[in-house]
Symmetry: C2
Amino acid sequence: MSETMQSGPSVQWRSICADGHARRGVLATPHGEVQTPAFMPVGTLGTVKGLTIDQVRATGAEMVLGNTYHLALRPGEEVVAELGGLHHMMGWTGPILTDSGGFQVFSLGRNTRVTEQAAVFQSHIDGSRFELSPERAVAIQEALGSDIAMVLDHVPPLPSSEQLIEDACERSIRWASRCRDAQTRADQSLFGIVQGGLSRALRLRSAAALRDLDLPGYAVGGLSVGESPKEMYGVLDYVVEALPDNRPRYLMGVGRPQDLVEGIARGIDMFDCVMPTRNARNALAFTDEGPLKLRNLRHQRDPRPLETDCPCMACRHSRGYLRHLFLAGEMLGPILLTAHNLTYYQRLMAEAREAIEANEFTAFRERRLAGWAG
Amino acid sequence: MSETMQSGPSVQWRSICADGHARRGVLATPHGEVQTPAFMPVGTLGTVKGLTIDQVRATGAEMVLGNTYHLALRPGEEVVAELGGLHHMMGWTGPILTDSGGFQVFSLGRNTRVTEQAAVFQSHIDGSRFELSPERAVAIQEALGSDIAMVLDHVPPLPSSEQLIEDACERSIRWASRCRDAQTRADQSLFGIVQGGLSRALRLRSAAALRDLDLPGYAVGGLSVGESPKEMYGVLDYVVEALPDNRPRYLMGVGRPQDLVEGIARGIDMFDCVMPTRNARNALAFTDEGPLKLRNLRHQRDPRPLETDCPCMACRHSRGYLRHLFLAGEMLGPILLTAHNLTYYQRLMAEAREAIEANEFTAFRERRLAGWAG
């Protein structure tokens, strides 16, 4: 690890105010500031599926996510680097966070084996063999050039034996340390990932060990993988408390609008999830009154937009038109609904930030939860 | 036919200047003016595949095309009318031309039978039975609310017997007359379609008969269906001469950039074709140096845009990125290439208009043909 790296992370989060556990802050990165709580749309392969980069910006997103596993397989991190890095290749001038590939290696990779050195797996695309070590995960993310890199973690499938979960948790701690030591870019910050399944003891062990590494940010991983929302919120309750106050907290891969609000209520600052984009491609639109299934016949002649006050490009059209696009298999259906759902998520975060500033987050949370339930 | 209809078409074309047979004009419609020669992107089902309506506008398009056959099947013209008509449903404020469905009935419809009254066929979507008469074709297009409607024509498959081609040509003339008599909307203009295959006698017979109907515009149909470019240009040479000078001439479903330039050279004012959009979805980009196949390995690390001087949103990215998007199956590949190809076609038309105005069309045509030939 270089001296530059030790002298201070290039990504820094500062608090503006709090309302209960909910916090309002700003994440400063080499590519600009991000207002938190923040939702990052997922740009798996260097594109947020269905949208041009200007359209992503127009949803209100300030930061996007790229996937190390996917980009290392296609087009390969060296190609990305030759094309100017992930920012330049995508045309995204704001900050980018890359995951480490850990989650995908264990969920998408074939015949994955784990040694202390690395995870070895076969590509889900063509079966070719890859080895992902902590050092390699950092090297790939440095080639991609993201503002925030994530440590490589060992994510065992659930359910697994307690022994395996504990081994994976301990290994993830050692791998986090190796990731930090492998860093060479001063303009990239490394976030730790708290693992430990649903075990309070393991989660607290993981949080404490990562905290000792004094990383510029901390994520909570291994959630939204089949456990109940109540179990997930329970984990957040004690994990957040075990993390430093002056570092951003990132809940990985979560989730539904209600999960975001509940996460914010527990002190989470950053989120990412494919839910708004993936659901859009399946004709599901998020609204304050709950989701709308656009293929439903009842929308056929409906001249109303999805939401009357939404500024997105889908809401300049009727529900009837959107339904027609989906039934006809036209690309514009997924395109417009992706823009709407991402705009919905960004507006939700903006409203949450305003509510925290106004010390009205509890009322906001209750109002939204009631709307979605209704 | 109402008195209003007889008193003058709502669409009118006026000449600005000419350069040989090539003409520069303006088409005035209820939804604004269109500079000619003009290329209309195809919005088959009420959407130009892959683009938002703002993106269609940004390509430079002034007029788009909708397909009667497709829209009558899905979502049905009554649904379109209830959603405010085709303009409002799509969000397109400029002029729209709808074809009559004739071509699709005979190319896409199943078990199509023709009587003097109508074409009867089964939907290619669900096999349901439809009857398309000249009166019905006009009624559908009036429900859609396009600025320009096309007469229903009988388009026999090629090759067909001379007798069938002649019968179809004569029937198309009678149907054109019935279409005119069926019109009830004063804000929609009906264009005739010259048929007759590759027979000079039939083409001239068709043109003369349609000319007698004194329609506000004339199309040349039944071309680009397998004949050689030379044969097509030959038909244009004598058909255009047989059409009135003071009416716009529309070459339907054509074609390649060279076909547009050759059509303009022969006095054609309007074009439509799926070529730029369909090819875009197959990773083929049009350029002044000929088409680029984006999947080719040689583009993998190429940092250059498709064209350095192109203002489209694809040309803000590298060829390497575009290739990656196609290989990864990302929607953004077809989206960006559709924008590029349509922008390419619109720039080509703008350059052609400038060349005509400058009396330099011959040199322009030679330069472009040489560039495409490579």
